[in-house]
Symmetry: C2
């Protein structure tokens, strides 16, 4: 890739779209953002093309220099064809986004699910620091999902569902989840669940955000401590499952909730330390160096999209 | 492999060793068994060579016809070098079993961990019935472990620990496990754990076997029903974890405990049906057709060893 070509990563979210342009040496040439226009597929396409042109202009680049574009989409994507099967938040159903962008721009465009693409970004980020071939990326925000690179390759599973751990049952007869089941991991560890548990335990009537809980935790609020204990117990067991099934070298935690920093992480790390203390196996498999938190200023989505573009 | 060569699979267990000789069309030429002599590495080697010669004689085969030998070992094995790093039950430490057998017989010998090799056997068995590329094999006996084939390839993980689910914590402050931790999956679902839970719940002084519990369950014994409910809850959640992490097409259950048949399986299938009833996602991911029980007369170990031999 040292041929002077430039590469574009596009992270299309339900609210915002971000474009990243890098040179052959992975140096950032430009980074631009815009609201995502989800009115209909044509608006989304036009908005994406406009943002790509804006990013290129800011990078002083020309379409003819672009080696490829990688695009991350929050939804069900056919990687091979670039067809977005279903992206509820983007108002897309069976839409050939890859082909439409390629036709409009004359540049190869590859489309992939956003969680997978973020995993590719995380994998590349880790490998800039040290060589690793087995990595799980756990994204914790409104929902929870894991993406995995196994033996150096993004692993999708038989139906593209590998790592959908948000809906694994962790508590019998627990809280009702959006999926219809009870006691899913998301009903305890996701951002809205953290807020809900705190509001319930504290007897609050007005809804709170997870951020409120983290602040209360930092201020030694007993209810927040109790909620975070419960959250971190469920999460640390999920992390153990991930490690014992995938046997990854690193588990990277990211997503909106991890941005809380110490208030979210300290209790999780304390739980893991407690598990390590119990057995030699846990000491090895749950070693502290395996758990990494993604820096909040690293956009795994756009970097992963660049990686996808370069894979073609 | 239609060249007239024959292949040998050797399943070396802590108690018995079994050898299987097949022709190029995978037809069984002979199957022989002997006690495993674990007195020292030389005895184990001599016993293995003797059994191979006996199997060949019974198959009317000659050493010169053998394309390769695959060997399964209950322990930590370096697949590439054929060195058995540690096999406690076989009294082997850092022993170059592959090289020793190759030198003695003049035949290429490949060595692999027995759980992995059984997974290869299960994978081949499944593919004789229908094409599948993502399979988990869960062996439930004295211990519990899973082996996986992902995208058609045996997956080992970064440290050869992928699928070691027996020691994942499923019950906080549960029973003390042999690994030193509390509440591991093995403390509820493994054969000895099933026996222990029944003896405790029934207030028995004399130890019982898992078989006793299964018989009591079949006879509508209330305590056995209660124990099996607990066992099947823990197991069905573990199966959900396996499916949501690996997204396999099939989960095959085998090992000594599954030989109990309906008494073991019916409550597990009932739990899974209950989970399916809760959500559309579970209905799809935990579909009944994904769960298969290995026939008790199918020796996954020797068939997997044959598959290993043919891979070279």
């Amino acid at each position: 890739m040292g041929d002077g070509r430039i590469w574009i990563g596009l992270d299309i979210g339900g609210t915002k779209t971000e474009a990243l342009v890098v040179d052959a040496q992975m140096g950032v040439l430009s980074r631009v953002r815009a609201s995502t226009d989800t009115a209909d597929p044509e608006c989304l396409l036009a908005g994406s093309i406009q943002l790509i042109h804006r990013a290129l202009a800011q990078a002083n680049g020309a379409v003819s220099q672009v080696g490829g574009i990688g695009i991350g989409i929050p939804g069900l994507v056919e990687r091979e064809t670039g067809v977005v099967r279903l992206a509820v938040n983007l108002n897309l159903t069976a839409y050939p986004l890859g082909a439409a962008l390629t036709a409009a721009l004359g540049i190869p465009c590859a489309v992939e699910n956003d969680a997978r693409i973020a995993t590719m970004g995380v994998y590349r980020w880790l490998n800039e620091q040290q060589p690793v071939r087995h990595v799980a990326y756990v994204s914790i925000g409104t929902g929870i999902a894991a993406g995995v690179v196994l033996d150096g390759r993004l692993y999708r599973g038989a139906h593209g569902m590998a790592g959908e751990i948000g809906h694994v049952m962790v508590e019998a007869d627990g809280q009702l989840c959006s999926c219809g089941a009870r006691g899913c991991l998301e009903t305890i560890v996701a951002g809205p669940a953290i807020a809900r548990q705190y509001a319930e335990a504290a007897g609050l009537r007005a809804p709170v955000t997870a951020e409120t809980v983290f602040q209360a935790y930092q201020a030694d609020d007993a209810v927040a401590q109790q909620v975070m204990r419960r959250v971190s117990q469920a999460l640390s067991r999920a992390l153990q499952w991930l490690i014992m099934t995938y046997d990854v070298e690193k588990v990277v935690l990211g997503g909106g909730v991890t941005a809380a920093g110490a208030a979210f992480l300290d209790p999780v790390l304390a739980e893991l330390a407690q598990m390590r203390a119990q057995s030699a196996l846990a000491q090895e498999m749950l070693a502290a160096h395996k758990f990494v938190v993604l820096p909040t200023d690293f956009n795994a989505g756009t970097w992963g999209a660049v990686a996808l573009a370069q894979q073609g």
